[in-house]
Subunit: 453 residues, 3 copies
């Protein structure tokens, strides 16, 4: 007698210990029936009936399996993907819709010593530094984001826009309509969630290096952000009523960055530059904090330039960011020139350079041209030490310039992804007011506990 070729092959393969694809599972019965029929043990009629019964058995087994599979599929086919680690994100099964609740809470304890003999200029206490709630989402190529900060007791609008994004080959194109980041500066644009220190360099202030404004921003970037370019035409930041109707001048800004060197995401060098022109017609004042967000002693200042005397301003920045394993360095230089209707230009120059090192082996996370949140390697968390030097000089075109130099050292502990405890010490080392050196050396000891989601 002859067995069916396929089952012989299967049998042979099996003997060779190969793994079989699933399903048909009563070949042995059919083969046996053939053998018994061929040698006359069973009649041809019985063979037919038995073979039919065997086929029915097989059908039934397959149907049972298919039924379970269908059940799994029906239960899971519309099931969204839900990210629970690092962020909360619900994405539709087809990937075209996503939704993400966002927020952050930062609680600071601060002790500053103004060192100017005026005890009421010292600041001591705690503060809810940032407390944000918001939502963002995407719908096919479109998206939206709305986040407000409630730390000040009211709703301070941060990002609030409708966006569009697409790709042309390896180039990404983006558009934001609403309030979003002005494409200017590096320190200003790095999220407070990811800053190395508790406060940005004091020049990264809304006056000379503004953060957000209402308008349109277009961006282009390589898929891997080896280069990026963004330009914004924005009509000032929202005022208390969250409109810009009283703003006189528009802001045009453009920023580009590229990576001359990137071995991998933890070995790279990025260079950036930006240019900004601010319209005039609104009053202007730049009076940076020295050692803390809540300084009362702020002797360095442009003074207030009245709306009718403020003709506008130009500014540019150049910046660099380098990551080499656990080490990183970052530098930014700013030049901001105020044009007055009467009186000479007021020129602010500033720079900050920082370096940090993870004692526990992590690397600063570079993402899309900026820094992002790290994930500790160990369950014990990650530790980072960092130092920064910064200087600001405000030159009103005479010998009465204001200037200060400051050192900051910081220790960061990341218990987990998304949480961080920070300890900073800020020390002004040189202070010049109206062209004369001042003996005050303000300092601050600052602690932060933060979490974001």
């Amino acid at each position: 007698m002859k067995l069916k070729t396929s089952s012989l092959l299967i049998a042979g393969a099996l003997l060779g210990a190969a793994v079989m694809p699933a399903q048909a599972n009563n070949e042995a019965m059919l083969d046996l029936l053939k053998v018994l029929r061929d040698q006359g043990t069973i009649t041809a009629d019985n063979y037919d009936l038995l073979a039919s019964a065997a086929a029915a058995d097989k059908e039934k087994t397959e149907a049972a399996t298919a039924e379970v599979k269908a059940e799994v599929k029906s239960v899971t086919k519309d099931m969204p993907k839900i990210t629970t680690k690092g962020k909360i994100k619900i994405t539709s099964a087809d990937g075209n819709w996503s939704f993400q609740p966002i927020g952050r809470v930062m609680w600071d304890a601060v002790h500053t010593d103004a060192d100017n003999g005026v005890s009421s200029d010292d600041v001591k206490g705690t503060e809810l530094r940032r407390a944000r709630l918001g939502f963002q989402g995407s719908i096919y190529n479109w998206g939206y984001k709305f986040e407000a900060d409630f730390a000040g007791g009211d709703a301070s609008i941060k990002d609030a826009y409708v966006s569009y994004g697409t790709k042309f080959g390896d180039t990404k194109l983006g558009l934001k309509l609403g309030q979003s980041h002005i494409p200017f500066g590096l320190n200003t644009k790095i999220s407070s969630k990811y800053m190395t220190f508790m406060d940005r360099p004091m020049f990264a202030d809304n006056s000379v290096s503004p953060a957000r404004a209402s308008g349109a921003v277009v961006s282009l970037a390589a898929k891997d952000y080896r280069w990026s370019l963004a330009a914004g035409l924005q009509n000032g930041a929202f005022d208390g009523d969250n409109d810009t109707y009283e703003v006189n001048g528009s802001t045009f800004a453009v920023r580009g960055s590229f990576l001359p060197y990137m071995e991998d995401k933890s070995h790279l060098l990025q260079i950036g530059a930006a240019f900004l022109t601010q319209g005039g017609g609104d009053s202007f004042k730049f009076q940076p904090d020295l050692v803390s967000h809540d300084d009362k002693y702020k002797p360095v200042s442009t003074g207030t330039i009245a709306a009718n005397d403020f003709d506008g301003a130009q500014a540019f920045t150049v910046d660099a960011l380098a990551v080499f394993g656990s080490f990183h360095a970052m530098a930014e230089y700013l030049d901001h020139t105020i044009e007055q209707d009467s009186g000479s230009d007021i020129d602010t120059t500033a720079f900050a350079v920082e370096a940090g090192y993870f004692l526990t082996g992590e690397s600063l996370k570079w993402k899309k041209g900026y820094t992002s949140g790290i994930k500790p390697k160990s369950k014990m968390g990650a530790w980072q030490v960092a130092a920064r030097f910064e200087t600001i000089e405000i030159d009103p075109g005479s010998s009465s310039e204001d200037e200060f130099d400051k050192f900051t050292v910081g220790l960061n502990y990341y218990p987990t992804q998304n949480t961080r405890l920070m300890l900073n010490y800020d020390q002004v080392t040189d202070l010049t007011v109206n062209g004369s050196s001042v003996n005050d050396e303000p300092s601050a000891l600052k602690f932060r506990a933060q979490a974001y989601w």
Copy 2:
């Protein structure tokens, strides 16, 4: 020999190519054993043992299938249903609990020309028009909703209520306790997410056609909303402290609607009417915008009616909404009468009529007596053109009436469900102040980008 009847039937059915229900899958073996026993090929003892082994095989197969099924069930039985398209909604497996984060962001760029020779009356700039966050949910027959608007820099409470809903046969009964929509008017009640134009008709204002108030609202409706009826006893809108303790008069309102014609949801005609009586004792003023939400030039006004002179007001509206395929039309007429303690009644009459057409084949979405969000038919989005005429006349019982007529044309682009870009042009064509025609013809060009979730 004789095969078991059931397996013969099964075999026969199989030969007839019928599909079998799942499970028992070694009938062929049992049949073969019977044949072999009956013709003496195997002994009766062996038959018994082999038949037992076959039964055991079957049990085991069924147990394996049942195990997988149980696993699927255990993993999925408490799995909530999560809606990710059009809205984010998490519903418990039994359907009795649901939760939904809600919100919207609308960003406007506006350029108005007051045309009155006063350049400071022109408005130019951008605005975060609406920025809302909230949650709503249901627990069996009960529910809650809380949504606040943060666009003004503070928390302006919108809906904030606890609700109850049930059905009697085909009739739905609802109750809302808290702040919710006053059952009055059509334009006022249509959500800003779904309005055809960027601004409501100028009479759909909190003074003569108020939107929300704090109190109790009862509603009845057919299951399919062929008819609906709602009545509210409300104690004014929340003031700055979100209470109504200083409000003197209550508001009673009732609104009904019915559909004399409905072929399907895109071929229908709805007629509505409402009545409202406002208590007096609070100061009153109606001074509508002309061309934009942020007008500074607003010559049409009732003037301020002092609290001790305002005895209350009565108002009624009649409205119609028609959808015929891609075309829709909507009209509303309002009559509002202020009763003064001294001086004659002040009568405001207003109407607005609009028409719109989807160039891309969609239909205005009618839902529960109002309009709702459309879903573009094409991946390229949906386009709609629309026009509106409106007029408001304020008649103080003398010849010194105020009046204006306005045309609005609009172009709406819906890139996706839940997103929309809008372009509106508003033009006042006739303006009468204190009984005299005024030559000013204010106009506005307005753009909006919006998303909701």
Copy 3:
């Protein structure tokens, strides 16, 4: 012939009606083949081929089952657990990350009669009493919470902290950094979601029994909260700017509780005590409401103690909570002493005792030392009746003390878990101002609809 032992055993077991573990499911075929070979019905060669085919069949069946199981596993392995009843909580598959949107809405209708002959002291109307939105989450041992109340039109920050929790054997250790509850008092700490009455006892006020402050709180507790101990060093509550920079004195508080008797969670007695010391240097005033949160008539008062005269304060509370089936009782005594630079101490003593009974068989829910939300036993909801007596005496060290006694009766209806309707009647029975009995007996009728998530 001899059948394989294992299949004989299986067959025997089967005859004994035992249930088999899954998988191997063609033993009968192998046994039959052996029988047929042994008695010469089939050849040894055919036996080998057929046995191989049978083994292949088995492999295939098992592979099919394994494939489905793998599919189930792959689909579900990263699927978070989502709680939809009682709260909305998304927990990662490994349990290490969780996220929870939180909030509550409470709408009140209030009618108070000041009974002092000054009609403007009566309060009538509705109020959005609480309207909160927030998020909380956990990341391994760390966590965060941020919740703000928007009922007042701005963002009043409630909990805003980063936390850490761990266990040592059966002892739980917790740390909160940020704004959180001061460990002081019982009535103050019970969440407004779970209070028996609409208003707390009038002494549970931010002055003498403060709720939240910014700082650090450490807590220890038994795993089952049979005992707990918490201590906080806090720098006052956030002011309007959500910082404590202007606060002069720190607050140190410690609270402990233990359960001398606990048969189960609905038969227990808890005793608690707390001590608090407030720093001076800020102005101080305690002027409790009498019958309602929005009283205008508040004759009982310490008066304002100027910042330079307020040297600080000490306070202590003792409290008890008992649950016996559907019945509960709760009592708290407070003693608060203000130290003045000039003038004598001002001593406030107060107590409140309440009792409640569920008519529908539920028990007050005790959870972690406080009360929590109940789940009605019936689909018709739960009903609770309750009564409270409270008294406050402010003794300025002379005969001019202020004092009032008040009764409150309440009826609570819980339609479902997480929702509640409340009706309260408050009646002052005795009022003494400046040492003289006053004839006024203010009263209030109050209704609340609330939901939380």
